[in-house]
């Protein structure tokens, strides 16, 4: 089991562009959460997907959207990129029931120029 995999590992975009990040959860997990980690800060919750629906959302604008596919993989989309969107984006998978621990991916480093 490769665990949680994210692609790409690094990405460079310019302001105003759109970006899509991808995540495959750990085998057997049905829930995917996305976090943004700015330099020198802790991860910040963006949203969570379960059964192909957004179940919980953090304090992020509508420019941030996502999708979950029937195979539980997920995408994070960010439109109209701002310089402040530069960060490490982490995907984490788990089971929805209870408070099972999160398994994190290695992240996608997004740089907005």
């Amino acid at each position: 089991d490769a665990g949680v995999t994210q692609s790409p590992t690094h990405l460079i975009k310019t302001r105003g562009q759109q970006v899509t990040l991808r995540c495959s959860p750990k085998s057997g997990h049905d829930t995917v959460s996305w976090y943004q980690q700015a330099l020198g800060q802790g991860p910040q919750f963006i949203f969570q997907y379960y059964e192909e629906e957004e179940r919980q959302r953090g304090n992020f604008p509508d420019r941030f959207s996502g999708h979950q596919f029937p195979n539980y993989s997920s995408e994070l989309n960010v439109n109209a990129l701002l310089l402040g969107d530069s960060a490490l984006y982490l995907c984490a998978s788990s089971f929805m029931t209870g408070h099972e621990k999160l398994f994190f991916g290695s992240g996608t480093q997004l740089s907005v120029l």
């Binding site: 800060q41 919750f45 398994f103 991916g105």
Partner: protein, 111 residues
């Protein structure tokens, strides 16, 4: 709203010395508290959770609801404990895992 504060950005100790990482939280309901760790060039991973009341790699953490704290302790630090540590909170009634993280504490264990 919930908030997690880790007041120390960097903690430097000598091998064999005790180490304590502070974590304070604010949340009006019943929280579940976690410590996550990230070793160099590795992924963020769960170290321990208060509900399990277990000791992992010699680390323990006690939830003090009166002081709203969840400090992480180890009596004798080892060089392999050098890492980034994050305290995190999840509302206990919420299904799934929506975690609020603190800003993190970097621990450096010197030989």
């Amino acid at each position: 709203a919930q908030r997690v504060t880790q007041p120390e950005k960097l903690l430097s100790v000598f091998k064999g010395a005790p180490v304590e990482l502070k974590c304070n939280y604010s949340y009006s309901g019943s929280p579940e508290l976690f410590w996550y760790v990230q070793y160099s060039r590795q992924r963020l991973q769960l170290l321990l959770r208060h509900i399990s009341r277990e000791s992992i790699k010699g680390f323990t953490a006690d939830l003090n609801k009166g002081e709203t704290s969840f400090h992480l302790k180890k009596p004798f630090a080892q060089e392999e404990d050098s890492a980034m540590y994050y305290c995190a909170l999840s509302p206990i009634k919420a299904a799934g895992n929506k975690l609020t993280f603190g800003g993190g504490t970097r621990v450096l264990v010197k030989p």
